[in-house]
């Protein structure tokens, strides 16, 4: 392939006056978008805590019936993917599109592993009748009881409140999962552009932006993991 075919950006867009200005504007835009992500998930966390203080025993029962080993494994997978994403940004900034591409591929693989683990988790919940909607709610009480650490909780046990825990569990991890899917889409976009050698040490805004998004998704999981599986 001749070098003339490489579409590597050296010019800023017409409405900016320098590449530096365009870069800073783009990055700031991504950061503001990240602030909206914080507010959006923040609302869910407010709901989580309000119901937690209203029905503490249900959260403990619900959390115990989740598989914390799978949750922990997914946490590690996401942390590793965050690391490879950070490295992808580092390599792009150095101008090494090839190395960066490898890191992005690893990141995407991690995202798929996360979703596969999530699939097994969800199907186990559905199997035990713990999916709260579509008339599928039919909790397997023996399964719940066998998982609860503190059996004194069983005294004031109400399946309706446990359902609320699973509503929040599916809403929060589900929305997080949708973010992972969007992230995978963004990864493929980045991979295509890295493969075309479009980035250089002068222009790497897109990779950095996707990186910021991916790290925010990781941060949300950092909070979701203990709140759902452990505490």
């Amino acid at each position: 392939m001749s070098t003339a075919k490489i579409d590597r950006r050296v010019e800023h867009s017409h409405h900016f006056s320098s590449m530096q200005q365009e870069y800073e504007a783009g990055k700031q835009g991504v950061w503001i978008f990240m602030a909206t992500e914080i507010m959006m998930f923040g609302g869910l966390f407010v709901g989580y805590f309000i119901y937690r203080f209203a029905y503490p025993e249900m959260y403990i029962a619900g959390g115990d019936s989740l598989n914390w080993v799978q949750g922990a494994a997914n946490t590690l997978v996401l942390l590793v993917s965050s690391f490879t994403m950070a490295q992808a940004v580092t390599e792009t900034m150095k101008g090494d599109n090839k190395k960066a591409l490898k890191y992005v591929i690893v990141t995407t693989a991690c995202a798929f592993i996360f979703l596969i683990v999530k699939y097994f988790e969800y199907s186990a919940k559905v199997h035990h009748g713990l999916f709260p909607g579509f008339d599928m709610w039919n909790p397997d009480m023996e399964y719940i009881k066998s998982h609860i650490r503190d059996t004194s909780l069983l005294a004031n046990f109400s399946a309706e409140n446990l359902r609320l825990f699973f509503v929040l569990y599916f809403a929060m991890t589900g929305l997080h999962g949708i973010h992972i899917l969007i992230g995978i889409g963004l990864m493929f976009w980045i991979m295509k552009r890295l493969k075309n050698n479009e980035f250089s040490s002068k222009y790497y805004t897109a990779v950095e932006g996707v990186g910021l998004y991916w790290h925010i998704v990781d941060i949300i999981w950092i909070f979701l993991f203990p709140l759902m599986y452990l505490i």
Partner: protein, 93 residues
């Protein structure tokens, strides 16, 4: 144009995060801080440290300009407002 974070710093960041994750699991599963919400508080404290590390090192806020830090902080501050007022209502209802 911007600060390039070297490989060894990213590795250190990842290691710290993994260690903190293990700490979360161990303290939540095997250390009982009794009734009250101390286990919850501890887990949230560790998660906040982890989030700060991701924001600072992976997301380059440590090396970034004041404006982007302010934007991130702004999001968190308004979230604190939503939390604060909702709980004032809840606890005194």
């Amino acid at each position: 144009m911007a600060h390039i974070v070297p490989l060894n710093v990213n590795i250190k960041t990842l290691t710290t995060l993994v260690v903190l994750t293990i700490t979360t699991v161990v303290t939540a599963k095997y250390v009982d801080l009794g009734h009250g919400h101390y286990n919850l508080l501890l887990a949230m404290f560790i998660a906040s440290i982890k989030a700060t590390i991701v924001l600072g090192w992976f997301m380059h806020l440590k090396y970034d300009g004041m404006m982007n830090r302010a934007i991130a902080l702004c999001g968190l501050a308004f979230l604190a407002l939503l939390f604060g007022f909702s709980y004032i209502d809840l606890f005194y209802r």
